[in-house]
């Protein structure tokens, strides 16, 4: 009986083997990557911190590896893409500029961050005020320079030791005075991405409109035209990205809601802030006071208009305390390098009309400094600049037939509805949302992966390509202790 069964079943099993190999379905032919009308052999990425892979208020190796240009290049490789060199920090210096890490949470659930200060890439001669990093002089494909504004691209000496340390790092000594625009013009891409312009509004906004400046639209348009002309000079195809509305990022949406709740609980109807810049002249007048009703502070649902910066977190905790000069002392310390030598702390406070014996944030004498608040008028200024810059970016891209990733529309949607990646929910919330890093401005690796996918969708649509997307869930959100 057994042998009979075996004799009968042996050919069946053999047949089965044949049947099974034919049985495995194959979908890969349906989804073969292709380049469409693009030549991806030499991809150059132009931009600022977002392009460099900046995260957690620093540039460091694992952030660089998750930069959106690096993720894109990895996908382009399936469709004829070439090598993509980034100015990576080397082992032993992998923490680069240093960065923020999450150290834990307070008993009330507020995050505690700490600076990573080991294995940095600082080189001799560097100071905390003016860091310099280990040089990377090989040719690179990723020209992302943290901090660069579009208004900086023609500045001679921007790559010198007195300039931007990240551009200085990748500037060869033989071309020490090369401008960023000249560096871009010499890069000779077959395909490029350009995402410049964020810092032309961001620095002004994150300083609560009390420092830095908005690039004039004429200057912005002129330099945007120059950089796109340089990139397309040899007929390269490319993608440009618009500037997101910065008021949607966790840097501005995290502290306000909690502060509003505390004020509401304590029946505090309003807080007092200063607006605009500080008074640095003996003949000037103290900054204008403004009373902000508690009800107008934006909450987690988006009701209200007044925004508090992430950096205001330690100060709003001091609200209402008399004899508290911490906020103004810190403002003075930050401003001191640019102040005349005669301006002492006491004189500085006098120039601002500040009397720190009064209740902090609740009195005209001890208001919340403007640097910690982006009020509705300042937001309107930032927004209209963003709109104008985006119009310039879009018009130039359309003129050259480039793909456009509308980062502004995209991040506005993410801020209101989040984005689900293969079943995983991500939002614009600080820390828990997975997309924004501990500085509240720059994306996490997950956030950069989502950006890369949106760019892929845009360029696939524009150029008839089929570049595959990455799985964002393969990239982390905020690293927990």
């Amino acid at each position: 009986m057994n042998t009979f069964l075996f004799r009968k079943s042996a050919p069946l099993v053999a047949l089965l083997g044949l049947g099974l190999s034919a049985c495995q379905p194959d979908l890969e032919n349906d989804v073969k990557p292709s380049a469409g009308s693009v030549d991806f052999s030499r991809y150059i990425a132009v931009g600022n911190s977002l392009t460099a892979g900046f995260s957690d208020n620093g540039l460091y190796l694992s952030g660089q590896q998750a930069s959106y240009p690096n993720l894109l290049a990895g996908q382009f490789r399936q469709a004829g893409g070439g090598d993509f060199v980034q100015p990576l920090f080397q082992a032993g210096q992998e923490n680069g500029s240093g960065y923020l890490r999450l150290a834990g949470f307070t008993s009330t659930g507020s995050p505690i961050t700490a600076n990573v200060t080991t294995s940095l890439a600082l080189r001799s001669g560097a100071t905390a005020a003016r860091p310099l990093y280990t040089k990377y002089i090989e040719p690179v494909n990723n020209l992302g320079v943290p901090g660069i504004r579009l208004s900086d691209i023609e500045t001679v000496g921007y790559g010198s030791t007195a300039g931007n340390p990240y551009f200085e790092r990748i500037t060869p000594d033989a071309q020490a005075t090369q401008t960023y625009l000249a560096r871009v013009a010499a890069s000779n891409p077959t395909f490029f991405t350009n995402w410049l312009g964020n810092n032309d509004v961001l620095g002004y906004a994150t300083a609560g409109a009390a420092a830095s400046f908005l690039t004039p639209i004429a200057d912005f348009t002129d330099k945007n035209t120059k950089v796109i002309n340089a990139l397309t000079a040899n007929g390269a195809k490319g993608l440009v990205a618009t500037i997101p509305d910065v008021t949607n990022i966790p840097f501005f949406t995290t502290v306000g809601p909690a502060f509003k709740a505390t004020l509401t609980t304590n029946n505090v109807p309003a807080v007092i802030i200063t607006t605009g810049g500080f008074n640095t002249s003996l003949t000037g007048t103290p900054p204008t006071r403004r009373t902000i009703a508690t009800s107008t502070i934006r909450d987690a649902s988006g009701n209200g208009v007044q925004l508090f910066t992430l950096t205001s977190s330690p100060y709003v905790a001091l609200f209402g305390r008399p004899n508290n000069g911490k906020a103004w002392r810190d403002v003075y310390n930050q401003a001191r390098p640019s102040l005349p030598a005669v301006v002492t702390l006491g004189l500085f406070l006098q120039l601002q009309g500040v009397d720190t014996t009064q209740a902090f944030g609740a009195s005209n004498g001890n208001p919340i400094p403007s640097t910690l608040v982006l009020d509705d008028t300042e937001q309107a200024t930032v927004r209209s600049a963003t709109t104008a810059f985006n119009a310039a970016i879009t018009a130039k891209a359309n003129e050259k037939g480039l793909a456009i990733f509308d980062a502004n529309t995209f991040f506005t949607r993410v801020a209101s509805a989040g984005i689900i990646t293969n079943g995983v929910t991500n939002t614009a919330s600080f820390i828990s949302g997975n997309l924004f890093s501990l500085d509240g401005v720059h994306p996490t690796p997950r956030g950069y992966a989502v950006v890369a996918n949106e760019m892929i969708k845009a360029l696939n649509a524009k150029y008839g390509a089929r570049i595959a997307e990455v799985n964002p869930n393969d990239y982390i959100g905020v690293k927990f202790p």
């Binding site: 009968k8 079943s9 069946l12 089965l16 049947g19 099974l20 049985c23 495995q24 379905p25 194959d26 979908l27 890969e28 349906d30 989804v31 073969k32 990557p33 399936q78 689900i420 293969n422 079943g423 995983v424 929910t425 820390i431 828990s432 997975n434 996918n453 892929i456 969708k457 595959a468 997307e469 799985n471 869930n473 393969d474 982390i476 959100g477 905020v478 690293k479 927990f480 202790p481």
Partner: protein, 415 residues
């Protein structure tokens, strides 16, 4: 026959399968039927009538014991929306089985019997790190029904029958990864279903030597797991306090099936069967797990299924070549119960087309049945927009395609 023995046999042969019919239904209850596209409601072939139509049992000439086992070999491919990497299952072979014993007087008007079969089940093991890992990594669903059956011939043309359908064994093991901000944890839900009872009843009418019709109905049983085990692995210490559950409750409907069958016997050698099955999948609305303590802030999870009732059409025939050898062929078209935008990794379902072949050889009181099925589940794509439209973003967008090969072997002994 002792039911404990039957259960022992069930334990020895794994009862699960990648579902061979729509949803997680398995219709591999008789080896002869398996070769004929799964028809049988309008026929009285052998003891497997207890499953297909208890009403036909009284018209089965032979009394005897028969056992069958099938080897379900599923091959699946998945590509995420916008992706280029094909994911394939970690392949596993599972063996749904059937066992029947029929008794009764040689010339009497009644037959009694007991049937053991595996009407529902599923087993899928997805590739490590696949895109849908937070929906599902592994699922094993098993069920064994034991069915004491009685059938009575009211006239020589009309017979009725019914069986007490006992969910004697049921189990679920479901695993998925948990998305944490900087890593993935893993949750495993493992439980046994409580014993439940339903019925399987049918009527069989054979107005002439050339024609027979049948109707049968198997009732719904809710497979209910109470106090199943929840275990977490790879949850890092920062998040451990959010994953406290140790027990879960869940209910999975094993839906009612109503079938209509027709048998045509143009001559003594040829038999043709036509069946339609109507499965009330619409009872499967949500898959809900209730936990004793929180899982990431919630004590339950609920996922939309919103299945729809589904029809299956079957056709098959057998031809008696010699006194010993009978050959079979057939096919079926199985409409999916899963609506667009509701496809989940645990049932990457779509309409199915199958072709079957079979043969029997009998020598004396023994008989050997072999059968082979090839099932092609149509390619199915769902987009992110589909998921957003239906509020089903707990699963993933992409394209699935599955083929299944099911060889089977049966032995029977007639008294």
């Amino acid at each position: 026959m002792d039911s404990k023995f039957l259960l022992l046999a069930g334990g020895a042969l794994l009862s699960a399968t990648v579902a061979s019919a729509g949803g997680y239904q398995v219709t591999l209850a008789g080896q002869k039927n398996n070769g004929m596209g799964g028809v049988g409601v309008g026929l009285s072939l052998d003891q497997a009538a207890m499953f297909y139509n208890p009403g036909a049992l009284a018209m089965v000439r032979d009394r005897g014991v028969q056992v069958g086992v099938n080897f379900t070999l599923a091959r699946n491919a998945y590509v995420a929306e916008g992706g280029s990497q094909q994911r394939e299952l970690r392949n596993s072979t599972v063996t749904p089985f059937n066992l029947y014993a029929g008794f009764g007087p040689a010339e009497g008007k009644f037959r009694a019997g007991i049937a053991v079969y595996t009407p529902f089940g599923s087993k899928l093991q997805y590739a490590n790190g696949w895109e849908g890992r937070t929906s599902l990594t592994d699922i094993t669903l098993e069920s064994i029904y034991v069915q004491p059956t009685f059938s009575y011939a009211i006239t020589d043309k009309l017979s009725i029958g019914a069986g007490l359908m006992i969910l004697a064994y049921g189990s679920v093991n479901l695993q998925r990864d948990i998305p944490l901000p900087d890593s993935f944890g893993h949750i495993e839900l493992d439980g046994k279903a409580e014993n439940k009872v339903g019925y399987n009843a049918g009527i069989f009418f054979k107005p002439s030597e050339k024609l027979s019709v049948g109707i049968s109905h198997r009732s719904k049983i809710d497979a209910q797991v109470k106090g199943g085990d929840v275990s977490f692995t790879n949850v890092t210490s920062s998040f451990a306090s959010r994953f406290e559950a140790t027990k879960f409750d869940a209910t999975l409907p094993l839906p009612a099936t109503t079938s209509l069958g027709l048998g045509i016997m143009p001559n003594e050698k040829l038999t043709i069967g036509l069946d339609v099955n109507f499965v009330q999948w619409s009872k499967y609305r949500v898959l809900r797990f209730d936990f004793d303590k929180q899982v990431n802030g919630s004590t339950f999870s609920e996922s939309k299924r919103y299945y729809q009732d589904a029809l299956t059409f079957r056709v098959g025939g057998q031809y008696k070549l010699t006194s010993g050898l009978t050959v079979r062929a057939g096919g079926s078209y199985d409409a999916t119960p899963v609506k667009d935008g509701y496809v989940t990794p645990e049932t990457p379902d779509n309409d199915r087309i199958s072709g079957t072949l079979g043969a029997s050889y009998s020598f004396g009181k023994f008989g050997l049945d072999i059968s082979g099925q090839y099932i092609s589940i149509k390619k199915r794509t769902q987009t992110t927009q589909d998921l957003l439209n239906n509020g089903t973003t707990d699963r993933i967008a992409g394209t699935y395609k599955t083929n299944i090969v099911i060889p089977g072997l049966g032995l029977n002994y007639n008294f």
